[in-house]
C-alpha cells in the first residue's frame, strides 16, 4: 500500500503563515500537532464528539479531527496557544480558568478555552444556560464542569461590571 498523495499549501495559524506539505487525507488536528507543534490540540475521540481538538476556523468553533487540512488552506485557524496576548500573557478566559482552579488533568481544557472565547465573543453577556449549551460539545472526564461554569460566569459578571 502506498501513501496518499501530498499537497503543498499555506496555513494561517494563530496569525502566522506556515507553508506545509500534508497528506491529502490528513486531518487538521494532526497537522497542527505533528507538523506545527501545537500541543493544545488533542485528538481523543476522532469523531467530533469530545471537543479536545477544538479550534476556531474563520471565527467559528470546529473539531479539527473532522476537517482535512487541505480544506482550511488560507483560512484563519486559532488554537488556545494563539489566544494569548502578543507578549505571551494569558487571555482573560485562560486567566479566569487559572484563577478558579478550573482544570484537573487538563487534557480537555484548551478546547474548552477556545469554545468559551467563541461563546463570549458572540455574546459577552452569556448566561449560565448559554455557556452550558455552548460547552455541550466539550467533554471533561475528570468532571471539572462546575468550576468551569463558575470561572466563565464570574468572568462575564466582572466584565459586565467593567463596562460603562
Amino acid at each position: 500500500m502506498s501513501q496518499s498523495p501530498t499537497s503543498e499549501l499555506t496555513l494561517i495559524v494563530n496569525g502566522e503563515k506556515h507553508h506545509v506539505e500534508v497528506l491529502a487525507d490528513e486531518a487538521l488536528v494532526h497537522t497542527l500537532r505533528d507538523r506545527l507543534g501545537l500541543r493544545s490540540v488533542r485528538p481523543t475521540c476522532g469523531m467530533g464528539i469530545c471537543g479536545t481538538c477544538t479550534v476556531q476556523l474563520d471565527g467559528s468553533v470546529v473539531s479539527s479531527c473532522l476537517l482535512l487540512t487541505v480544506q482550511v488552506a488560507g483560512r484563519p485557524v486559532v488554537t488556545s496557544e494563539g489566544l494569548r496576548s502578543d507578549d505571551g500573557g494569558l487571555s482573560r478566559v485562560q486567566q479566569a480558568f487559572v484563577d478558579r482552579g478550573a482544570y484537573q488533568c487538563s487534557y480537555c481544557i484548551p478546547g474548552m478555552v477556545v469554545t468559551v472565547h467563541a461563546c463570549l465573543s458572540e455574546n459577552p453577556d452569556a448566561s449560565l444556560e448559554d455557556v452550558r449549551d455552548y460547552l455541550a460539545g466539550n467533554l471533561c472526564r475528570c468532571g471539572t464542569y462546575v468550576s468551569i461554569l463558575e470561572a466563565v460566569t464570574e468572568l462575564v459578571e466582572s466584565e459586565a461590571d467593567d463596562r460603562p
Binding site: 484537573q104 488533568c105 449560565l128
Partner: protein, 739 residues
C-alpha cells in the same frame, strides 16, 4: 498549581507529547475473534509495505532469547505481550507492525494476514464456571481467577433467628474508564538497560515486571512519566509497556506505540459484577446477619483480579455493623476485555448493591431509610468483619451532612404532571490499598530552592501542587520555592498512584524528610552561630539563635559548603498478612477507612423513563484538607464521573465483540448531564494534626445507589441493574420484567 498556565493554554507536556531521537512507530494488529487458535501469521505483505521495518508476532517474542520471561501480570503471569498460540478476547493483540511513521505502520497493519481456528468462547461468568465451559488458561482450570471468603459469627443461626429476611440480586455491567490521553509508551534500550516513558499510574510495577520479563536487575529499568491526561485506574498495572519494551529490545532502536480510541476501550474495563445479598434484621430494625455472594468477570487475563476480588469482598462489608457475616467473592476468566481498576475500584459495584439493598429493607420495614442507616452505621471502636478495630469513623456525620444539604425531610413542590420527584442517598466505606510504600527525597539548595523527588503521578488530582504545599508546610518555606519533579523510578520508589492513597502517605513521608532536613539545619546553624542546637528556634524559612541572630535556610546551606541538605522519608503501611493466603481473610485490612456519602434529588419522566438529576450533594471524610479547591474537585469530579455508569455507561458485548468502543456509542457525562445544583463537603477533624484521608473516590461509589434509591422513592420502581437507562426505568415503572 505551579503549572496552571501551561495546563490552561495547553502547552503542558504529557507522555503522548514525548518523542525521542530515532524512534519508530508501532501499530498493533488485534484479534477479531473472542477465542481462537492462531494457525499462521503471514507478514510478507505487511513486511514489504512502505516504511515498514519489522512485523513482530507472539511467536517471535516467545522465541526471543533476550526475552526469557515473556508472560507478565502482577497477580498471575498469564498475559503475553502479543498472543501466543491462541487469542483469548476480541481485541487481543496478535502482532505489532513497526514502521518509520505512524501512518505507514497503520496502513501496513491491515495487510497482516492471520489464519485462526475459532474456539468456543464464553463471556458470561456463570457459564464460564459451568463444567464443560471453554477454558481460557490451561494453568487455571475452571476459569478460576480468585476466590475469597470472609466469615464472622454464626450467620446461619442469626438468619434463622432473624425477625425479617431480605434478599436481592444486583448487577453492575462492564464499563470503561475513558482516559482522554490514550495509553502511550516509548522505550529505548542501551545495552542491558531500558528507558521507558509511559503514561502509567504505577511506575514501580512497570519497572519490576519488565525487569523480570527481560531478566535484568530493577536498577536497569528506568520508568518515567509525565502528568497524565486522565487515569481513573486505566493506567494502573501494566498495559502496553511489555510489547513496546519487547519491540525496542528486538529491534535495537526506540519504539513508540500510542493506542487509538477503540484500542483504549479494548485494553481495560471495569469488572462486571453479579451480587447476591441476604440480610437478617431483628424486630427493632437492627441488622443481625449478612450473607453475600459476589461474582466478578475478570476478562481474558488476570491483571489484578485474583487480589481485586478480595478488595471487592472487604469493601462489600460497607459502613454497617453486622455481628454475623459470610461473604464469598470470586473472579472468573471470560473471553472479554481484561478487567482492571476503575475509579472507585471494587467499591462502585458492591456499594450499588448494598446501598440499594438498605433502602429495600427500609421499604420492607416501612421506616425511613436514613433512620435505618443511622441505627446500623458503624461507630468508632467497632470491629470490622475481619476483626480489625475501627478508628476515625465518621459515617453518622457524613449522613447528617448530605441529608441536611439535600433537605431530606423538607417537603418539595409537586412536580409537573407526568413526572415524579424523589430524594435518595447512599453512604459507603472503602478500604485503603494494602501493603504500600512511598519514598520521597527532599533537597534544599543554597539558593533557597527545594526539589522534591517522588514517584507520585499527577493525573489531574494535582498531586504535584499538593506535595509542594505539604513540603512547604513541613519545611517552613514558601510554596513558590518548591518544585516537585515528575515520577522517575531511578529517583524514588512509590507503589502506585491509586486507591486515594497519595496525599495520606506523602504527608507522612514528606514530614519525615523535612524533619530530617530541619535537624541537619539545626546542627549546621548551631555550629555557625556557636550555640547549642537546643537554643535554636525555627521560624519561616530561617533559624533564630538565642541572641536574636538569624540565619536563612539558604545561608545555612551556603555556609555549610554542601551542595544541598537532603532529607529522605518513607511511608510503609502497616504489615498485614490478612490477604496473603486465600481464601479466608482475617485481621488488619486497612490503614484507615475511606468514607463518603451522596444525596440526590431526581425527577423521573413517567412517560419516557428518563431520569433528570435535579440536585446532588456529596461528602467525603477528609480528616484534614490540604487544598480546598482540589479536595472539592475530587469530590465533585467523582460525582460527575459517577453519573455516567449510574445512568448510561455500559460497554456492550455482542457475540463476543465489544459493540461500542467509541465515544459516540459509549457516552460519558457532558456538562448538560450535570445538575445545576451540585455541591460537596470535605469534613474535617477539629484536630489540626488529624490524619489526612484520601478524597479521590469517596463520592463516586455512592452516586449510582443514591440515584436508584431516589428513583424508587419517586416512582416505587426498584431497579437492580445498572445503568439506570430510560428503558429500564420505564419497564420498572410499568411493572414489566427487568432488562
Amino acid at each position: 498549581m505551579p503549572d496552571a498556565a501551561e495546563r490552561v493554554v495547553g502547552t503542558l507536556m504529557y507522555t503522548v507529547d514525548h518523542s525521542i531521537e530515532g524512534m519508530v512507530h508501532g501499530k498493533l494488529v488485534r484479534s477479531p475473534y473472542p477465542h481462537a487458535t492462531i494457525l499462521a501469521v503471514d507478514i510478507s505483505r505487511a513486511q514489504a509495505s512502505e516504511g515498514v521495518l519489522r512485523v513482530i508476532t507472539g511467536a517471535d517474542i516467545a522465541a526471543a532469547a533476550e526475552i526469557p520471561n515473556p508472560l507478565f501480570g502482577l497477580a498471575r503471569r498469564d498475559q503475553p505481550p502479543l498472543a501466543m498460540e491462541k487469542v483469548r478476547y476480541a481485541g487481543d493483540p496478535v502482532a505489532l507492525v513497526v514502521a518509520d511513521t505512524p501512518a505507514n505502520a497503520r496502513a501496513a497493519a491491515e495487510s497482516v494476514m492471520i489464519d485462526y481456528d475459532e474456539l468456543p468462547f464464553v463471556v458470561d461468568p456463570e457459564q464460564a464456571l459451568a463444567s464443560g465451559a471453554p477454558v481460557l488458561h490451561e494453568l487455571w482450570p475452571g476459569n478460576e481467577c480468585g476466590e475469597w471468603r470472609l466469615e464472622t459469627g454464626d450467620t446461619d443461626g442469626a438468619m434463622a433467628a432473624a425477625e425479617h429476611l431480605f434478599e436481592s440480586e444486583y448487577h453492575s455491567p462492564m464499563a470503561s474508564p475513558v482516559p482522554f490521553e490514550p495509553h502511550v509508551a516509548v522505550a529505548v534500550w542501551e545495552g542491558n538497560s531500558l528507558d521507558i516513558w509511559t503514561a502509567t499510574q504505577w511506575p514501580a510495577a512497570v519497572q519490576g515486571e519488565l525487569a523480570h520479563m527481560f531478566d535484568v536487575s530493577t536498577e536497569r529499568v528506568r520508568v518515567r512519566t509525565f502528568p497524565l491526561g486522565g487515569g481513573y485506574g486505566s493506567k494502573s498495572q501494566l498495559k502496553i509497556e511489555p510489547v513496546v519494551a519487547a519491540a525496542a529490545r528486538m529491534m535495537g532502536r526506540p519504539v513508540r506505540v500510542e493506542l487509538d480510541r477503540d484500542e483504549v476501550f479494548l485494553t481495560v474495563a471495569k469488572h462486571p459484577a453479579k451480587m447476591w445479598i441476604r440480610t437478617g434484621v431483628d424486630a427493632s430494625g437492627r441488622f443481625v446477619a449478612r450473607e453475600m455472594d459476589l461474582l466478578y468477570n475478570g476478562g481474558a487475563y488476570a491483571v489484578l483480579t485474583p487480589k481485586a476480588v478480595a478488595q471487592g469482598m472487604l469493601r462489600s462489608v460497607g459502613p454497617y455493623r453486622f455481628p454475623n457475616m459470610r461473604i464469598r467473592s470470586r473472579g472468573v476468566y471470560t473471553n472479554t476485555v481484561p478487567s482492571g481498576s476503575f475509579r472507585g475500584a471494587m467499591t462502585n459495584q458492591c456499594a450499588f448493591a448494598y446501598e440499594s439493598h438498605v433502602d429495600e429493607i427500609a421499604t420492607g420495614l416501612g421506616i425511613d431509610p436514613v433512620e435505618l442507616r443511622l441505627k446500623n452505621l458503624s461507630c468508632d471502636g467497632d470491629r470490622f468483619a475481619t476483626g480489625q478495630v475501627m478508628h476515625d469513623v465518621h459515617f453518622h456525620e457524613l449522613v447528617q451532612d448530605v441529608t441536611q444539604v439535600i433537605g431530606w425531610n423538607d417537603s418539595e413542590p409537586p412536580p409537573m404532571s407526568g413526572r415524579a420527584r424523589g430524594k435518595g442517598m447512599a453512604v459507603i466505606l472503602k478500604t485503603t490499598a494494602p501493603g504500600s510504600r512511598s519514598e520521597v527525597r527532599v533537597e534544599l539548595f543554597a539558593d533557597g530552592r527545594v526539589l522534591v523527588h517522588t514517584s507520585s503521578v499527577d493525573m489531574g488530582q494535582g498531586v504535584l501542587g499538593t506535595l509542594a504545599q505539604l513540603t512547604a508546610h513541613h519545611l517552613g518555606v514558601d510554596f513558590e520555592a518548591v518544585t516537585v519533579l515528575d515520577p522517575d523510578t531511578a529517583a524514588t520508589f512509590d507503589s502506585m498512584t491509586a486507591g486515594s492513597r497519595t496525599t495520606h502517605v506523602a504527608d507522612r513521608a514528606i514530614r519525615e524528610a523535612c524533619e530530617s532536613i530541619r535537624a541537619q539545619l539545626a546542627l549546621f546553624a548551631a555550629e555557625q552561630m556557636g550555640v547549642d542546637p537546643s537554643e535554636l528556634r525555627f521560624e519561616a524559612g530561617s533559624v533564630a539563635g538565642p541572641r536574636g541572630e538569624r540565619l536563612r535556610y539558604s545561608e545555612i546551606v551556603g555556609r555549610a559548603r554542601v551542595s544541598a541538605v537532603v532529607g529522605e522519608g518513607v511511608y510503609q503501611s502497616a504489615p498485614s498478612d490478612a490477604l496473603n493466603e486465600p481464601p479466608d481473610v482475617r485481621g488488619v485490612v486497612a490503614d484507615h477507612w475511606h468514607q463518603g456519602a451522596v444525596a440526590v434529588e431526581v425527577e423521573v419522566d413517567l412517560e419516557t423513563g428518563k431520569v433528570e438529576l435535579q440536585r446532588c450533594h456529596g461528602a467525603a471524610w477528609a480528616g484534614r484538607v490540604v487544598n480546598p479547591i482540589r479536595a472539592r474537585q475530587q469530590s465533585e469530579g467523582s460525582i460527575i464521573f459517577g453519573i455516567g455508569p449510574a445512568l448510561f455507561e455500559e460497554l456492550v458485548v455482542v457475540d463476543g465483540q465489544v459493540s461500542n468502543p467509541n465515544l459516540s456509542d459509549y457516552m460519558i457525562p457532558s456538562i448538560l448531564d450535570v445538575p445545576i445544583e451540585l455541591t460537596s463537603s470535605s469534613l474535617e477533624s477539629a484536630d489540626p494534626d488529624a490524619d489526612i484521608h484520601g478524597v479521590g473516590e469517596m463520592t463516586i461509589p455512592a452516586v449510582a445507589p443514591a440515584i436508584a434509591n431516589a428513583i424508587a422513592r419517586a416512582t416505587g420502581a426498584r431497579i437492580r441493574h445498572l445503568p439506570l437507562t430510560p428503558e429500564r426505568v420505564l419497564r420498572a415503572i410499568l411493572g414489566a420484567e427487568q432488562v
